[in-house]
Amino acid sequence: METSINKKTSLDRKFDKLRELEETGKSRKGIQNRALRKMLSNKLAVIGLVFVSIVIVASIIAPLICKYDPQKVNLRMILKPPSSEHILGTDKVGRDVYARIIYGGRISILVGLGSALGAALIGVSIGAYTGYRGGWIDSLILRISEIVMAFPQIILVLLLVAILGQSLMNLMVIFTLTGWGGLFRMTRAQMLSLREEEYVQALQAFGLSSFRISFKHVLPNALGPIMVNITLSTAMFILQEAGLSFLGLGVPLNIPTWGNILNVAIDLRILEDFWWVWMPVAVMISLFVLGINFIGDGLRDSTDPSLQG
């Protein structure tokens, strides 16, 4: 018994160290924002953040780091393996695979991020207001979102592709239209619980308009889960773009995107003998989405109060 009381556990030692730091005033150094500090101490999230940033920067400065035009057909260089001239070889009409992957990233990331932000704009703004106000508008929009979410996502997306036609803009509109439901419901649920807080009652007593209360005072407190959701939606939309383009129903084939580059792999000859045409881009999509998912998980751990340690 005696020993167990006197023995210091590892937790005790940690507390001692913290107390020491606090007394000497060293703990105030470094990054003040708790969420940011926690995010940066999460190794996987930092790795994801670094990788995703590198890819985004590379696709923005694409003309500076690619020697070749991704669209330029060169019939003398068909399906050449990787060499010093073409780092990742050439595809079946002689286009440089490396340049296509870097330029393709522009469109793929644009579709993913643009659709996620579009869905967030609709879902969050409607959810924040109707979740706070309630009433018949709230139930009406809730029903609409239920109708949208009753479809399996890919069926609804393909259905809209058939109606609206294939183009880059249409694809982003379609993803936004099919993806806002989740964000709407999540924001609404957050608002429903936050609006019962006492500070909201105080604001109401001051006579602030419900528009001001919901957007300026309640919404900021719900931002954590919303950010996580936007991040994960971006990953999901990039995967969906790749899937749709793989089916030949996404972004029109003449625009290079990650999905469109992979599209050729349905040809068994290419799949078996010319790995450099499809393998690098497959790895690229997977790592990029993995990176975004790591960021999303890191964000969740650092903003969710129930997980604070």
């Binding site: 399996p152 393909l158 790749a242 899937g243 992979l262 997977s286």
Partner: protein
Amino acid sequence: MIPIEAMRDMTPEALNSMREALGLNDPFLIRYFRWLIGVLQGDFGYSFASGVAIKDLVLDRLPATLELSLFALLLSTIIGTFFGTISALKRGSAIDNSFTVFGMLGVSIPEFIFGLLAIVLFSLQLKWFPVGGRLMPGYETFWDHLPHLILPASVLSLIMTAGVMRYTRSSMLDSMNREFIKTARSKGIPEWRVNFLHGFRVALIPVIVLIGFRLPMLIGGTVIIEQVFQWPGVGEQFVLAVRGRNYPLIMMIAFLSVNAVLIASFLIDLLTALLDPRVKLE
């Protein structure tokens, strides 16, 4: 079907009388209710491409899709709950961490890349399984197409396993922290009985709900995998219909999958009421 030439040489008057006869000049709502009444009577219209009744086209493809997705659902449920439980019981161990990484990879890598890798490895290099397709002429029993089924079903279940596993893990962790587990342990019940008869049973309820939500995937979730493996199911037919703008066919398949979702969520409600004594049906 009307040949293209006949349509091209039509005079405007003939075109108009044709539209009148087919009811295309009626207002939108009337046309919609005409379609709806047809659907209620089991008449889904005719394919733009072949003129065959849509119902027959889809019913023809449905067994292939259900075969694929039921197999995958079964496989992923068994593997996912098993590994998820182990992961939760050995929390923090190397096994748990590797399963977590696997789960992360499973949600990050597009399903068709798994499919392509499986084809390259098992069909083209090792030549264990055929590349794609389902039936060869003359071979029509289940055992004949089992080799064709194994690859697509495994790839599909691999994707679905990741989700089931993560879910089972957190649900199991949740249930192992509850009071009744302490009670069971303090009564001296062997640890494996505590884990499997007490913890696992309670942890299973949310997992069953998740599987219920997967049921609609039976029709909607196989679209891309069917394309990769040239599996002649509803999903492949849907892609063809979208490419050819074959609207009656698109509508019927969308209608089917929405109904699958509605029926599944109804079943989930019934099932949770049955499994969880705290939920009562009003």
